[in-house]
C-alpha cells in the first residue's frame, strides 16, 4: 500500500502533539560545579571532581541557573514554586558520570504556563495557545562517540570515546501539556511554537539557542486519533530534531507514518524515534513500552530551592517585551514592509536598529544603513553585524549629518568605512579624511563649464530642451568634483547654465 498523502491523513486523523524542549543555559559555569561551559573546547578539558563524579565530590546549585529558569518560567506565564527540589534520576550510561542525572521530578520550579503563537493560514493569521505543563532544571550528560559498527550507536561499536565537557551543563526542560486541536496545521504550529520559544529565550539572554549546536533541542511527541474521537492514540517521541524546519518535517512525517500503520489496522509502537536530517524520516530507537524505572528520589546532597517572592517580582520586572509583540509593534510604528521586517530579523539587527531609532534616527534610514552598507561589510569580513565597531550612536550621527546636508549618501558610505576601520566616530572620520560636500558654487561652475565644453554635443541637446540628457553631464560633474558635490545643486546650476532653469 502506498504512503497516504498528507491531505489523506488529515481528512481522517486528528493529530495531538506534545513538545519537550531542552535548552542549554548560557551560564559561565556548569549547573553544579564551577567548570567552564564554552562550546567546542578540547574533550575533557572542562571537567572537575564534581562533574566527573569522583568519589566524595558534591554538587552545589548554580544560582544564576535558577535565576535564568525563573525568568523563562515568568516569560512563559508560569507559576513559580516557592519550594521545589532536585531529584535523582537513576540509570546507568557511560556518558553520565554519576549514573544518575540530577533533575527535577514531581516538584518542578515553574508550572502551569502558556505561550500564544500565530501562524499564517489560507484564512489569514490564526492564533493557537500552547499550554506549558512545567519548566524544570537538570544537568546535561557527557557526549559519547561510538567508534566502529554500522549505526554509530553503542550497540555494535568497537569502542566508545567519552567527552565530559558537556556533563553538568545546565539544562532547562520546557514541557507542554498535550496540544490538541491544531488539525492540519500541527506541523506549522509546532514549528511556530519552537520559533517563539527560541525568540523568547534569546530576548531573555539566557541561552545561545543555537539548534545546530544543540543548545536548543526539541523532542516531538505525536499521536493520531480519529477525527471526532476523545481517545488519545499511541504516541511516538521523536528526538534529535535540530532545526525549525526539521520540527515541521518530523511531525508531518510521523503523522504520515502513524496514519499508514493505523490505516492498515496495525498499532503504533510507543517508542523513541530518531529524526534523520537527510531523509526527513525517523528511525526506531528504544522502545518505551516497558517504562524504565528511574527510581527518582529527592537528591540528599542538595537543599530545596526556595526563591523569595520579592526576588521573583524583581525578576518579573526585568522581563523584556515579548519578541512577537515587539515585532508587531515595530512593524506598525515604523511602517516596515514584510520583506524588510523579515530581513531585519534574519540579520539579527532588530535591537540595533531600534536603538539607533531611539537615538533620533529616522527608522527607514536607520534600517537601510544597517541592512545595506553595514551588513555588506559584515558579510565581506565574515563577522556578525554586532561584532563590527560601528554602533547605533555612530549610525544615528551619520543619519543626522546626511539630513543636515553635510554629507551625501555616497560620502556617508566612506564615513561608515572609516568608522568600521576604527578611525573614530563619524564627525572624526569626516574631519580626518577631509570629507565635505562641495558647496562652493564657483568651483562647481568651473566644473560645469569644463564638462559642457568637453561634451558640447550633449550640452547642446539640453540647451535644446532635451532634459534627460542632463544626467550624463551631472554625472561627469560629480566625477570631476570627486563626489563631494551635492547632486541637486549641480543639477540646479547646470540647468541654469544651459538656459533651462
Amino acid at each position: 500500500m502506498a504512503l497516504p498523502t498528507y491531505e489523506e491523513v488529515i481528512a481522517k486523523w486528528d493529530p495531538v502533539l506534545g513538545l519537550e524542549v531542552h535548552v542549554e543555559l548560557n551560564t559561565h559555569s556548569k549547573m553544579f560545579c564551577s567548570c567552564a561551559t564554552e562550546f567546542g573546547a578540547e574533550p575533557n578539558t572542562q571537567t572537575c571532581p564534581v562533574c566527573l563524579a569522583l568519589p566524595g565530590a558534591l554538587p552545589v546549585v548554580n544560582e544564576k541557573a535558577i535565576e535564568s529558569t525563573i525568568l523563562i518560567g515568568l516569560a512563559l506565564n508560569c507559576k513559580i514554586a516557592p519550594y521545589s527540589r532536585f531529584a535523582r534520576k537513576n540509570y546507568f550510561y557511560p556518558d553520565m558520570p554519576k549514573n544518575f542525572q540530577i533533575s527535577q521530578y514531581d516538584e518542578p520550579i515553574c508550572f502551569d504556563g502558556y505561550v500564544d503563537v500565530e501562524i499564517e493560514t489560507e484564512e489569514g493569521p490564526k492564533q493557537f495557545r500552547i499550554e506549558i505543563e512545567r519548566v524544570h532544571m537538570e544537568e546535561d550528560t557527557g557526549k559519547s562517540l561510538h567508534v566502529g559498527g554500522a549505526t554509530g550507536r553503542i550497540h555494535g561499536a568497537d569502542y566508545s570515546l567519552l567527552d565530559y565537557n558537556r556533563a553538568g551543563i545546565p539544562l532547562v526542560e520546557i514541557v507542554t501539556k498535550i496540544v490538541p486541536g491544531t488539525g492540519k496545521y500541527a506541523p506549522e504550529v509546532a514549528k511556530a511554537y519552537v520559533a517563539e520559544l527560541r525568540d523568547i529565550l534569546r530576548g531573555l539572554k539566557v541561552s545561545d539557542v543555537k539548534m545546530e549546536q544543540g543548545s536548543l533541542r526539541c523532542d516531538a511527541n505525536v499521536s493520531l486519533k480519529p477525527i471526532g474521537s476523545d481517545v488519545l492514540g499511541t504516541r511516538s517521541e521523536t528526538k534529535n530534531v535540530n532545526s525549525l524546519r526539521s520540527v515541521e518535517r518530523a511531525i508531518r512525517g510521523e503523522m504520515i507514518r502513524h496514519a499508514e500503520l493505523l490505516n492498515e489496522g496495525k498499532k503504533v509502537k510507543q517508542e523513541t524515534r530518531h529524526f534523520q536530517e537527510d531523509t526527513g524520516l525517523t528511525r526506531s530507537g528504544r522502545s518505551k513500552e516497558q517504562a524504565e524505572d528511574y527510581r527518582y528520589f529527592p537528591d540528599p546532597d542538595l537543599v530545596p530551592v526556595t526563591p523569595a517572592a520579592a526576588w521573583i517580582e524583581e525578576l518579573r520586572a526585568t522581563l523584556p517585551e515579548r519578541p512577537s509583540l515587539r515585532r508587531k509593534r515595530i512593524k506598525e510604528e515604523w511602517n516596515v514592509p514584510d520583506k524588510e521586517m523579515e530581513a531585519m530579523i534574519n540579520a539579527d539587527v532588530l535591537d540595533i536598529v531600534e536603538t539607533t531609532v531611539l537615538l533620533g534616527a529616522d527608522p527607514t534610514k536607520a534600517r537601510t544603513w544597517w541592512l545595506g552598507e553595514i551588513s555588506r561589510i559584515a558579510n565581506d569580513q565574515n563577522v556578525a553585524v554586532a561584532d563590527l565597531s560601528i554602533t547605533p550612536a555612530h549610525v544615528a550621527e551619520l543619519v543626522a549629518l546626511v539630513a543636515a546636508g553635510e554629507l551625501t549618501d555616497k560620502l556617508a558610505r566612506q564615513v561608515v568605512e572609516g568608522v568600521i576601520a576604527g578611525e573614530g566616530k563619524p564627525s572624526e572620520v569626516v574631519a580626518k579624511r577631509g570629507i565635505k560636500v562641495v558647496n562652493d558654487d564657483g568651483a562647481l561652475m568651473a566644473a560645469i563649464e569644463k564638462v559642457c565644453a568637453e561634451q558640447a554635443e550633449t550640452a547642446e541637446k539640453v540647451r535644446g530642451g532635451h532634459l534627460p540628457a542632463a544626467g550624463a553631464l551631472i554625472g561627469a560633474v560629480m566625477k570631476e568634483t570627486k563626489g563631494q558635490a551635492d547632486a541637486a545643486r549641480v543639477r540646479e546650476l547646470l540647468l541654469g547654465h544651459l538656459g533651462q532653469a
Binding site: 563524579a53 558534591l58 554519576k98 527510581r295 540528599p300 537543599v303
Partner: protein, 498 residues
C-alpha cells in the same frame, strides 16, 4: 611520649621540648611495632607525614603563629579523599585510586598543621559495625585481638586506642564513630549534620553521613572538632553558622543544674549487664556533680533501625552507582567484544563486597516504582517522628544520654553471618543520625563480665555540640578521679608496644 594526650603533646611542641618530626617518628614506630597485629591502617604515608612534620617544625622555628594542633599526628579514615594518597573507602573497587583533590576536612587538617600518618581501615563504604566488611581484612581490637574494634571507623578507633595516633578522623552514618569509640575505650563525637563539610567524604548515605573526631580525652576530641568544623560553600548541606565553642566547653566541664534526660527506650532489655551497670553508675556520678536526671520518652525510636535500613541503602544504591569502571578504580571483564554494560557489571560484581551488594539491592528495591511510598516514603515519615521525639525530649532536658552500644566488643566472626544481630548493635546510635543532631561516646569503665570498655552516649540538639563537651568533660574528670588512671592504662599491653 605517645601515651600523652594531644593537648600535652601540643604543649610540649610549643615549649620546644619535642618536635613534630620526633613525635611523628614515634608514632610511625608504634605503627610499625603493633599494626601487624591491630591492622588499623590500610596505608601509612610515612614520607608525607614526616615532610609535613618538618614543615611545621620550620614554621614554628621561624616564629610563625601556629594553630593549637600544629605538628600533632593523626590517623585519617580511608573514606576521606586526600590528594595523591591511596583512598579506597575500604573497597576493592577503588584499589589503587589516588584522588586528584583534597576533601575539605583534609584541607582544614593540613591548614591547621596536623600531620596525617595514613589512612585507616573501615567497613567497605562505611557499611558495617565491626570493620569486618573491609575489602582488605578486619581490624583487631587492641583490648583483645580476638575481638572487633567496632565500626565502621574501626581502624581510626583502634589506632587511637593502640597509641598509634593521638587523634583520628572517622565518619558516622549510624554510629560509626561513637560505637567503635565505645568498644575501644576512647572518645568519639559525631558532630551535628552539616557542621563538618562532606566535600570529599566518599558518600554512603548522604543525608546521614558526617565526619567527626576521635581522641583519648574529651579535650583532645574538642580540639580536633574545632579544626574540622565550619561552613563550606562546596557542600550544599553545610551549615553557615559559627562553630560551637567546643574547646571552651571541654575546658570548663560542668553539669551543675544541667538537666540530663535518660531515654527510656535505650536501656534495660537487650543491653549487656555490665554495660547497663556502668551506665547507671555514670548517671549517679552526674547526679552527684549537680545534674538533674530525668527520664524522657521517645516512643518512635522503636522504628529507628527499620527506617535507617531503608534510607541508608536507598541513598547508597544511588551514591555507589558511579563506581562503574569507566573513569577510575577497578576495571574487570574488559575483554575483546565485552560491552560497556558487561564491564560495569563484572567490575561491580568483583569490586563490591557482600554487605555493600546487600545494601545496594535493598535500596534499589526500596526506591522502585510501586514500592517507593511503602518503603522510602514511610521511612522518611518515621524520620520526621524521631525528630519530633527529640524535639520534645529536648524541652525536658539539656542533653540526653544512653549506653552507646548494647554490648562490649564482640568476637571477630561472631555476627558476620547474622546481619540483624549486627544491625541491632546500632540501635542506640542511629536515632541521632536520623535526626541530624550530635552525639558523643566516652568511656564509662569496664564491664565486670569481660573487662572490656563500655561507652556512655551523650546527645545534644543540632548546633549545640558544646553541650556534649561540657557534660562529657565533667563526667570524664569525675570518673578519672575514681579510677586514678586513664582507662586505656588498664588495657593489656600489645606485643612490641612502646
Amino acid at each position: 611520649m605517645i601515651r600523652q594526650s594531644a593537648a600535652q603533646m601540643a604543649a610540649a611542641l610549643s615549649e620546644g621540648s619535642t618536635t613534630s618530626v620526633e613525635l611523628t617518628q614515634a608514632h610511625l614506630d608504634q605503627i610499625a611495632a603493633v599494626d601487624n597485629n591491630v591492622k588499623a591502617f590500610l596505608h601509612v604515608d610515612a614520607e608525607g607525614a614526616l615532610a609535613q612534620a618538618k614543615s611545621v617544625d620550620a614554621q614554628r622555628k621561624s616564629g610563625e603563629k601556629l594553630s593549637p594542633l600544629a605538628g600533632i599526628p593523626l590517623a585519617l579514615k580511608d573514606v576521606l579523599a586526600q590528594r595523591g594518597v591511596p583512598t579506597t573507602a575500604g573497597s576493592k573497587i577503588l584499589q589503587g585510586w589516588r584522588p586528584p583533590y583534597d576533601s575539605t576536612v583534609v584541607t582544614k587538617l593540613k591548614d591547621a598543621g596536623l600531620v596525617i600518618l595514613g589512612k585507616t581501615n573501615m567497613d567497605e563504604f562505611a557499611m558495617g559495625s565491626s570493620t569486618e566488611n573491609s575489602g582488605y581484612g578486619p581490624t583487631f581490637n587492641p583490648w583483645d585481638l580476638t575481638r572487633t574494634p567496632g565500626g565502621s571507623s574501626g581502624g581510626s578507633a583502634a589506632a587511637v586506642s593502640a597509641f598509634q595516633a593521638p587523634l583520628a578522623v572517622g565518619s558516622d552514618t549510624g554510629g560509626s564513630i561513637r560505637q567503635p569509640a565505645a568498644l575501644t575505650g576512647i572518645v568519639g563525637v559525631r558532630p551535628t549534620y552539616g557542621a563538618v563539610s562532606r566535600f570529599g567524604l566518599i558518600a554512603y548515605s548522604s543525608s546521614l553521613d558526617q565526619a567527626g573526631p576521635f581522641g583519648r580525652t574529651v579535650l583532645d576530641t574538642a580540639l580536633l572538632h574545632e579544626v574540622m568544623a565550619g561552613h563550606d560553600p562546596k557542600d550544599a548541606t553545610s551549615i553557615n553558622a559559627p562553630v560551637p565553642a567546643v574547646v571552651a566547653a571541654a575546658k570548663s566541664g560542668d553539669v551543675k543544674g544541667m538537666k540530663i534526660g535518660v531515654i527510656k527506650q535505650l536501656q534495660g532489655e537487650g543491653y549487656q549487664k555490665g554495660v547497663q551497670a556502668r551506665f547507671d553508675e555514670s548517671l549517679q556520678v552526674l547526679a552527684s556533680l549537680g545534674a538533674e536526671i530525668v527520664e524522657v520518652d521517645c516512643p518512635n525510636f522503636e522504628y529507628a533501625l527499620a527506617a535507617y535500613y531503608l534510607i541508608a541503602p536507598s541513598e547508597c544504591s544511588s551514591n555507589l552507582a558511579r563506581f562503574d569502571a569507566m573513569r577510575y578504580g577497578l576495571r574487570t571483564g574488559d575483554i575483546d567484544g565485552a560491552s560497556a554494560e558487561a564491564v560495569m557489571s563484572a567490575t561491580r560484581d568483583a569490586g563490591f563486597g557482600r554487605e555493600v551488594k546487600r545494601r545496594i539491592i535493598l535500596g534499589t528495591y526500596a526506591l522502585s516504582s510501586g514500592y517507593y511510598d511503602a518503603y522510602y516514603g514511610s521511612a522518611q515519615k518515621i524520620r520526621t517522628l524521631i525528630i519530633q521525639d527529640y524535639a520534645k525530649a529536648f524541652t525536658q532536658a539539656d542533653v540526653l544520654v544512653s549506653p552507646t552500644a548494647p554490648t562490649t566488643a564482640y568476637k571477630i566472626g561472631e555476627k558476620v553471618d547474622d546481619p540483624m544481630a549486627m544491625y541491632l548493635g546500632d540501635v542506640a546510635t542511629i536515632p541521632v543520625n536520623l535526626a541530624g543532631i550530635c552525639g558523643m561516646s566516652l568511656p564509662a569503665g569496664l564491664a565486670d563480665e569481660d573487662n572490656l570498655p563500655v561507652g556512655f552516649q551523650i546527645m545534644a540538639p543540632a548546633m549545640q555540640d558544646q553541650r556534649l563537651y561540657q557534660a562529657g568533660a565533667a563526667l570524664e574528670a569525675a570518673l578519672l578521679s575514681q579510677w586514678g588512671a586513664p582507662i586505656l592504662s588498664k588495657a593489656p599491653a600489645l606485643a612490641g608496644s612502646k
